[in-house]
């Protein structure tokens, strides 16, 4: 049984449905990547799993989210609060703004252990320093006495990770954890997350738009576009034989080294906004292989060994 499994998830804000038909699952010691451009519904998926949709005025309309055998879709808020930060940790996108600027680092991390592990402030602080140490933060005791604005972005992201780890969660959701960081720090953070999955037997949901990060760290991938999953499967299959044209285009965007003459590829067009999702296959306006049928009929998933793609022409040679 999977640690976390999301089946056919649909989300609505009033009468707008920015997310539908998203499924994935992740086991302990495993990393699943959710990839897609901005606006594809990745963060919304994370918010749904955290049960934080009501905070921004959204609700789950379809499907279910199962955590350790427990259905979360109708879980009361008080029970959800125990999971949040306790058994499911969240790492957010922008470390610059994700810590309370008026509070010192120490108490902000301590709060998690005090709340979920019922520790005294003293025990919690000892634990905080331990965790900071394992995250390779020099002089944890000193850092605990600092304010967020006195630290670099990479350091702050480690603090956010420490907060997510403080209660020893089973699942970690990392929403674009490196997007706001310097390139040099990005690799460190990704490696750190990768190590954590192995050392702590965590299930990691890694949300990113960077296919190369997925290739390095993930076991499985879900490719999302315009609030839908277009293709999912194991990393090997997806990268060796991507079926969906969008996945192929994303992989094509990974910069490859070489003689320096190689041009960087992009995908022409832009991601549609929630207000004007296209009919049929959501990717058809930007797809090089789009035909009549793509504009009218939404494609079903077809399996190809370890993966499945929602494209009318998946498996058909171009």
């Amino acid at each position: 049984m999977s640690m976390l499994s999301v089946r056919d998830l649909g989300v609505a804000f009033g009468s707008i449905h920015p997310l539908s038909g998203v499924s994935f699952s992740v086991d302990r010691g495993q990393t699943i990547g959710i990839v897609g451009e901005s606006g594809s519904g990745k963060s919304l998926t994370a918010m749904s799993v955290m049960g934080l949709l009501p905070l921004i005025g959204g609700r789950i309309t379809d499907g279910n989210i199962e955590f350790d055998g427990q259905d979360l879709t109708n879980l009361p808020e008080t029970a959800y609060r125990k999971l949040r930060g306790g058994r499911i940790g969240l790492i957010t996108q922008n470390p610059m703004t994700s810590l309370d600027p008026l509070k010192k680092i120490g108490p902000q991390v301590d709060a998690v252990a005090i709340l979920h592990l019922e520790m005294t402030p003293k025990e919690a602080r000892a634990r905080t320093e331990d965790i900071l140490e394992t995250l390779r933060i020099p002089e944890p005791a000193l850092i605990c006495d600092r304010y967020p604005h006195q630290m670099s972005g990479g350091m702050k992201q480690r603090i956010v990770i420490a907060m997510a780890l403080a209660a020893d969660p089973d699942v970690l959701i990392a929403d674009e954890p490196t997007t706001a960081l310097d390139v040099t720090v990005q690799a460190q953070i990704i490696r750190l997350l990768d190590d954590l999955v192995k050392e702590r037997d965590l299930a990691l949901v890694l949300i990113t738009h960077d296919m190369s990060v997925v290739a390095q760290t993930c076991d499985k991938v879900v490719v999302m576009y315009a609030g839908r999953a277009l293709e999912f499967g194991t990393v090997e299959t997806i990268f060796d034989a991507p079926q969906h044209p969008y996945t192929q285009a994303l992989i094509g965007c990974i910069p490859r080294g070489g003689d320096g003459t190689a041009k960087l590829d992009g995908i022409p067009g832009t991601v549609p906004t929630v207000m004007n999702y296209p009919k049929g296959c959501p990717f058809h306006p930007r797809c090089t292989r789009a035909q009549e049928i793509c504009t009218t009929t939404q494609p079903e998933f077809t399996s190809y060994g370890d993966s499945a793609a929602a494209c009318h022409f998946a498996g058909v040679a171009p």
Partner: protein
């Protein structure tokens, strides 16, 4: 860090005080008329007048008069009231306590009620309550104090006879003036608190606080309130100056003794030393309020503490 900051701010008060003393002195002396007219008996000759002008040193140049005033101030001497014929310091000492009690109570009233209303309207997601509070805020921000004072007197003092119409007798005589001054303050504080809380709620870090599993109340009181308090404290600090200055017209309407009443009377008589003394007290109160606000701001926000030292 905070001590150094406080010291810096105190040093900055010196040039400010000097400029203020010049402005006060000039305004008072450039007003048409002088206090001597109030002292002359009917039928006095121009010679009598000149003798009086010379006696109070008003024939000397403004330059000399200013430095005499400042020199005496440094020795704790506010001068002698020309028309009221008593030391200015005695007059202020007699009236100040009334203003402090009235202003202090109004300040406390507007802070507590204003902040509570602001919190309620932004936390309770009830459109009727929110609309009521917002209506009250609009009313409180726009109704002038002297008019409200008259309404309150008419209703509670004349018709209902719950409180005295005027004077400074017992505690019951404080109720209407405090309400009058506090009303505008309540509206202002409520508005600032409401907006500040809603802004704080939109900050990025709030999402992560929820993700930590903290309850709504913990997030509200431990994290959102401190953020919302930053602008509220600034507004409140500016109103500390108002404790003395804001009551000027209201004291007059309610016939209460106080710095405001003293100032208005002295202004009418062009009693220079008294007007100068009162204005100086009001300016000091405003400076003190601003200082307290800045220090509180630095004490609450580590970013301010570092940026300014």
């Amino acid at each position: 860090m905070l001590l150094r900051y406080t010291f810096q701010r105190l040093l900055m008060l010196i040039p400010v005080s000097i400029s203020i003393s010049i402005v006060i002195f000039m305004i008072v002396h450039l007003l048409p008329g002088d206090p001597i007219d109030n002292l002359l008996r009917i039928g006095s000759s121009p010679e009598d007048r000149e003798a009086l002008v010379a006696r109070y040193g008003l024939d000397r140049s403004l330059f000399v008069q200013y430095f005499t005033w400042i020199g005496n101030l440094f020795q704790g001497d506010f001068g002698q009231a020309i028309v009221l014929r008593r030391p200015v310091i005695d007059l202020i000492g007699q009236n100040l306590p009334y203003s402090l009690v009235l202003g202090g109570l109004a300040f406390a009233f507007s802070s507590i009620v204003g902040m509570s209303l602001g919190i309620i309207s932004s936390v309770v997601r009830n459109p009727i309550i929110d609309r009521l509070v917002r209506g009250f805020i609009l009313l409180g921000s726009t109704v002038p104090g002297f008019w409200l004072a008259l309404l309150l007197i008419l209703f509670f003092a004349v018709n209902l006879r719950w409180f005295p119409v005027s004077g400074a007798g017992g505690w019951d005589s404080l109720v209407l003036p405090v309400l009058t001054i506090g009303f505008g303050g309540v509206a202002l504080v409520a508005r600032v608190t409401r907006v500040a809380l809603m802004d704080a709620r939109r900050e990025d870090f709030v999402m992560l606080l929820h993700a930590k599993g903290l309850s709504h109340n913990t997030i509200l009181f431990r994290h959102l309130m401190p953020h919302a308090l930053l602008p509220v404290v600034t507004i409140l600090a500016l109103r500390i100056g108002w404790i003395l200055g804001g009551a000027v017209t209201v004291e007059f309407v309610f016939g209460r003794p106080g710095l405001g009443s003293l100032l208005i009377r002295a202004l009418g008589q062009r009693d220079y030393p008294v007007v100068q003394g009162c204005l100086l007290m009001l300016a000091l109160a405003v400076m003190l309020g601003t200082l307290i606000g800045d220090i509180a701001q630095a004490a609450m926000d580590p970013r301010v503490r570092e940026a300014k030292t």
